[in-house]
Amino acid sequence: MTKRLLTAALLLSVSVIPAFAAKTSLVVGMPIEPPGLDPTVAAPVAIREVTLANLYEGLVRIDRNGKVQPLLAKSWEVSPDGLTYTFRLQDGVKFHDGTAFDSADVKFAFDRARDPKSTNAQKQIFAPIDTIETPDPATVVIKLKNPSGNFLTYLGWGDAVIVAPETAASNAANPVGTGPFKFKSWTRGDRVELTKNPDYWQKDKVKLDTVTFRFISDAQAQVAALRAGDVDAFPNLGAPELFAEFQKDSRFKAVAGNTEGETVAGMNNAKKPFDDVRVRRALMHAIDRKTLIEGAYSGFGTPIGSFFSPNHPAYVDMTGAVPYDVEKAKALLKEAGHGNGLSITIKAPQMAYASRSAELISAMLAEVGVELKIVPTEFPAKWIEEVFKNKDYDVTIVSHTEPLDIDIFARDSYYFNYKNDTFKQLIADAAKTTDEKARFEKYAQAQKILAEDVPALFLFQLPKLGVWNAKVKGLWENSPIPVNDVTEVSWTE
């Protein structure tokens, strides 16, 4: 009894709630903690979701519609041959440590990224660079070896942010950039805290004083944190089955947008029977994407028929190319010599969307006489080893979250084992085409080829289930690149 009284006393003494002032602080929840705060040395999306646009800035930025906008470069010119980019830089920009930003920093950042010893996860975006010249502190001239149609887009990615020579080496633990917020603290395992940068070059835009990123991996705990008000926004909620409840709750705004994650069931195209396009098409015909999305993601997520994000302006809806048609699937399998059935395996990672999809696909394929055995495969460690590196698999399922990554089907060593020279040529041409319209036309053709050749079963775009306090304004509904840009986020009260 004494113990209970003690407990009660303890409860009373600690549950004092601080009084509310006008809100200029924001707590953003994320499912995964970044393993460092330097997006130029490692791949994880979580690094970009904390740091990009908030701590670090690139020459350009990708806006909420996926368009390239000026940032540290206020303007640029591209030579008619597409080989020379001349950037004019913003004046009066300072790094968080007080040093001035100029063209030498740009040269340093890009040279560091393309150095042989660099561990930049997207090194190929710097591969076309021939020379970087700095005629004056406010001008950078980059000469390319060959035209790179997406070069400007790439410069808006986290891998290409501008870092200073004095601080680059320690950025993973103590990030220093030019962004609207400065790094304050990192309680590992729990939160990263940022404070407003008083010297920011466009500080009139910034409304928040502090931004806290909290890391909550358990989906139930995410929901609890939102409901208890511990977290103001969860841009990417992990609990699709509870999302609809937030949509009904007027205290919250709940928006189902798109990520850059194409969820596909990749097939080993070099292995029998997947070397036969009839088999691949048959499997695609057997899949009812609507039911799949319903079961795997509570109905949120855009069906896709090829490998391109619906966020991108060059996106073409190809879901009609090989539609759900059980009879056609059976006929094609028979024609390919598998009329008596087929037995294959799928290596499915533990993520809920992947393992649930695998079960549904297995049930759908059973309808056309294909037995699909599910082999649980831990992601990322085991999956990267077995599927990605050793290509030891029949079918697998994973969401590809890099933006603009259709070219993975043109890479010889990629885990799909897919070889299509026409497609490869088209992707190579597109990469060299600087004219946007012509490039998008090529991407449209490429999407069509994939849709009809089915090197992977194209399923759905991973949704971005954003939930935030209804009084918070300015968060992104879609994520054309992985980022939680809070520069212009504010509270309405």
Binding site: K3, T7, L10, L11, S13, V14, S15, V16, E33, P35, G36, A42, A43, P44, P116, K117, S118, T119, N120, A121, Q122, K123, Q124, A172, A173, T187, R188, G189, D190, R191, R214, F215, I216, S217, D218, Q220, A221, A224, A225, R227, A228, D230, E378, P380, A381, K382, I384, E385, E386, F388, K389, H400, E402, D405, I408
Partner: protein, 350 residues
């Protein structure tokens, strides 16, 4: 009646005390300081030997475990030369034996190495996390003991009475319900519904003792309840066993009242098996912390271990497993010393 098996309590009974059994026969009955010294010495040697075996085992397991930390860090778009550069930076290209020796050599010099993912000293990481896991476990032990001892003794004092029956229900439920589920219910009730506690997370000790304890209390109770249930049962059956002993009957026959008999004769004797179980439970508290820390989103050692395993942060995993093993061994040692303190017969033998 449920309880620990007769065989178990028999073995732990004072007549055949485990501590005396540990020592060579001729050493029994030597003076306490020498006895303690020998005990500490033998335990220290076994600690070092066990840790060496554990270190070798964990190293070998991680060697055969699939997963390349460099590939996980750099993702699926990385080029082969980039991967090679990172492997070299992390020292993963060195031979296995060399890596093992470097690890052990580092530890002997007090250097736990640098985390692959966080790029910071593991000792710093572990120290940060210990600030959560250690208080959490200690709080849970306190709660568990404070609940179990009075309940168990009260239940035994009036066997089959209403208190006994209530305790039985509590212990049945406590054993059956896993701690992470209790945790989820607590969050629903106390955080989402009543709003008394944060729904998880840890503000850090810098935020003050109040908020920090507030964040730790629910998880500690969730961690404590299942263990409290086990401990209650053990306390109850140990107490019952002593109540039935001849010396208790003698004491009662001499006219000692029931309360004094219980306090002065029964409980001190019953505490010995209870201490054994408590010692065993400590390792469960550390293990259970992994689950509870995940549910309550506490940045403790358990979460760090879980995260490190996912990321194949080999350096961190190896160190944490070693630390957990060391903790369990140290705790068992403390329990052994605890016997000597609880059992006056051992002290007076000189």
């Amino acid at each position: 009646m449920a309880g620990t098996s007769p065989a178990m309590t028999e073995r732990l009974h004072w007549v055949d005390h485990p501590l005396t059994a540990l020592l060579p026969t001729r050493e029994r009955g030597t003076g306490q300081p020498e006895l303690m010294l020998r005990l500490i010495l033998s335990r220290l040697i076994s600690l070092v030997v066990t840790l060496l075996f554990v270190s070798l085992a964990i190293f070998l397991i991680l060697e055969v475990l699939p997963g390349d930390p460099a590939a996980i860090m750099l993702g699926t778009a990385a080029r082969e030369d980039t991967l090679a550069a990172l492997r070299q930076e992390l020292g993963l290209d060195r031979p296995a034996l060399l890596r093992y020796l470097q690890w052990i050599g580092g530890i002997l010099q007090g250097d736990l190495g640098t985390s692959i993912t966080y790029k910071m000293p593991v000792s710093t990481l572990v120290a940060e996390r210990m600030n959560v896991t250690l208080p959490l476990s200690l709080l849970a032990i306190l709660i568990s003991t404070a609940l179990a001892l009075p309940l168990g003794v009260a239940a035994a004092a009036r066997r089959d009475g209403p208190v006994d029956r209530a305790v039985l229900v509590f212990s049945q439920l406590g054993v059956a319900v896993p701690n992470f589920w209790i945790g989820l219910l607590f969050i629903l009730f106390f955080s989402t519904w009543l709003g008394w506690f944060p729904a998880g997370g840890f503000p850090g000790w810098n935020a003050g003792i109040g908020p920090a304890l507030q964040a730790l209390l629910l998880p500690a109770v969730a961690l404590a309840l299942p263990q409290a249930a086990v401990l209650t049962r053990v306390t109850r059956s140990a107490t019952l066993e002593v109540i039935g002993a001849d010396f208790v009957r003698t004491a009662r026959a001499k006219g000692v009242d029931k309360g004094s008999t219980l306090r002065r004769h029964v409980v001190p004797n019953a505490l010995i098996p209870v201490t054994t179980i408590l010692g065993l439970q400590l390792s469960f508290f550390f293990g259970g912390a992994i689950l509870v820390e995940n549910v309550f989103n506490l940045p403790g050692l358990g979460r760090l271990a879980y995260q490190a395993l996912n990321q194949r942060d080999l350096v961190v995993i190896k160190d944490i497993v070693l630390i957990f093993s060391g903790l369990v061994i140290v705790v068992n040692f403390i329990v052994d010393v605890g016997y000597a303190i609880l059992d006056p017969r051992l002290r007076s033998r000189a």
